[in-house]
Symmetry: C2
Subunit: 349 residues, 2 copies
């Protein structure tokens, strides 16, 4: 029995694309037993009526308030107790659902999940992970914005969580983990990175060392660990790159009659690249380290993006990724001297 | 009379591509009176013999030692006094040349220039700037690797230096300067960035606020200011992006017969994009803030890249960019309360 709650009011095109995406997911995925759309009942009902598939897997859970994109995250989550996001997280906390998907205010999702769900045993800071296409398949990068000034210990936790995600969800056998740095040598980068390098080398995971920006899309690393600042800059760059290239190609092709004909024949190839590099296909970004499955969608999420984010949430539940993370952290922390910045949060099991 | 010294032994393909590039520059640029190739005389002579244009604008200045890519920058520059790089910088210091170009060990170039030339009045840390193509012309970004943990004051200096470079060398009338951050609001990012934001707002330059990774190639900002860590990651990503896209496009096109034909017609357009995004055309990266014109080339510099880097160095000399930087720093520091981390280095003029 997998139940997923979707923040019906979160995202630039909510509730429409959220409801559309939930319906798409309900039609596509028979392993998901229920999709609960949380938000203003009237608005969500209105959207649902546009679809033929009412009832069945889809249900509505009313929430009267909305957290806006511009709201201060911590303030909003504390004040708007009946917001669609706060109610989603509450349903997850009370185990009435197994996963939450929100394309709303990212800061509020992180704050809400951290404050209300708490962290997994062994975790001191959550991190947002994204998957992205490389020349050799899909890779994972984290953190991309939850923690802009991480300690070495936080980075090590990100590595362990990302490794577990790569193994148990992306089904990679022995994921190669790397630190994003400005050079390959151990001595490169900030002290925090140098410390993290040493800790990771001794952690027992398949740590392949530092990689540079030029290796980001090469696929050498299955899991790239970085601070949330550089991760966020890079993430947003990736999102824009395809558009930039499409513009560059269009500009060039406009200048040249033969190229116009050529582009016509190439359009399937271009479309395929666009699809590979499109955030819609990525399926949202898991917030790793919180005690529950939380998937963050892009603010501009389309129905397709929401559908894929729901898929990712269900995958995390089915593959018990959080249990594996707890296990991995326990093993690595105890056996491989990664240290702990917060001993009170060590595994209690 | 413009005289340029080129580090003949610096770079992965030195001395060959360096000599080739120097010869290309000598043939192409009549405003450059002399190009001094510094390094092992025999090796450079051997390369020069392959060209018909001996003598004339090109001369050789012997230096017996070589700083390798793997050498520790500060140690190497202090120990290898007769290295091609140290001798180049020495020629610049003694005003026997007006500019130095090196595609060697970047850290050693930064250390050598900083230690031996000193900094311009008003500057507390040098920064490496790069130019890159956007959807609306060429933009500048700095720092991309000299200073991975800058203070707010350093960032403000980078902004002022980059603004002057954009104005007096890239000939932009009122360059828009932005901070690279994880959100547009003043409250985003680290404390250092928040402080820099406030200082820049009051500095009198055309500061347009924060921009995110997705705006990097949009051309909204003429000059993007960032710390050397994120700048370096982004720089190396940019360099690899075109290769990644070429690979993606080739893979897709191979699958599809029609696309193969299409690609044939598109090849001029593709080639034009490759040229626009190629580091070779960028003309090296000026090291701004040191007391002298120093251009850093990519380690893998081709002859064309070296030629363009020589062009950039000569442009900096002709446009008196460093004098303008001194002036700008004096005005901004005195009138706009950007503060100074090191009052002893304030303008003495």
């Amino acid at each position: 029995m997998i139940k997923v709650a979707v923040d019906g009011m979160g995202g630039d095109y909510a509730p429409q694309t959220i409801v559309d995406g939930a319906v798409e997911a309900a039609l596509a995925y028979t392993d998901i037993d229920e999709i609960v759309i949380v938000g203003r009942e009237d608005a969500i009902k209105r959207e649902l009526k546009k679809h033929k598939v009412q009832g069945g897997q889809i249900s509505i859970h009313h929430a009267s308030e909305v957290i806006d994109m511009g709201d201060s995250p911590v303030k909003a989550i504390k004040k708007k107790k009946d917001s669609s996001l706060a109610v989603c997280i509450d349903l997850l906390k009370r185990k009435e659902v197994d996963a939450v998907i929100s394309a709303g205010n990212t800061g509020a999702v992180v704050a809400g999940a951290t404050l209300n769900l708490g962290l997994l045993p062994g975790v001191t800071r959550p991190g947002i992970a994204i998957t992205f296409p490389t020349l050799h398949g899909i890779s994972l990068a984290l953190d991309v914005g939850a923690n802009i000034d991480p300690s070495a210990h936080h980075l090590v936790q990100y590595a362990i969580m990302g490794e577990a995600y790569s193994r148990f969800l992306l089904k990679k056998k022995k994921p190669a983990v790397a630190l994003l740095n400005i050079g390959e040598e151990e001595s490169k980068g900030t002290e925090v990175l140098q410390d993290a390098y040493r800790m990771l080398r001794d952690s027992g995971i398949n740590f392949i060392g530092n990689i540079e920006g030029r290796d980001f899309f090469g696929g050498k690393a299955d899991c790239i660990v970085c601070d949330g600042f550089v991760g966020n800059v890079v993430l947003k760059m990736i999102e824009s790159i395809i558009e930039v290239f499409v513009s560059l190609v269009s500009n060039e092709i406009k200048k040249d009659f033969l190229a116009k004909i050529g582009a016509f024949f190439c359009q399937n190839a271009f479309e395929s690249i666009r699809r590979q590099t499109n955030y819609e296909e990525a399926g949202g970004a898991p917030l790793l380290g919180v005690d529950g499955v939380v998937i963050i969608g892009h603010g501009i999420s389309s129905a397709r993006a929401i559908r894929n984010a729901i898929r990712t949430g269900a995958n995390m539940v089915e593959n018990q990724v959080n249990n594996h993370i707890i296990e991995e952290l326990k093993i690595r922390e105890q056996n491989h001297h990664t240290g702990s910045a917060n001993p009170t949060q060590k595994p209690t099991a």
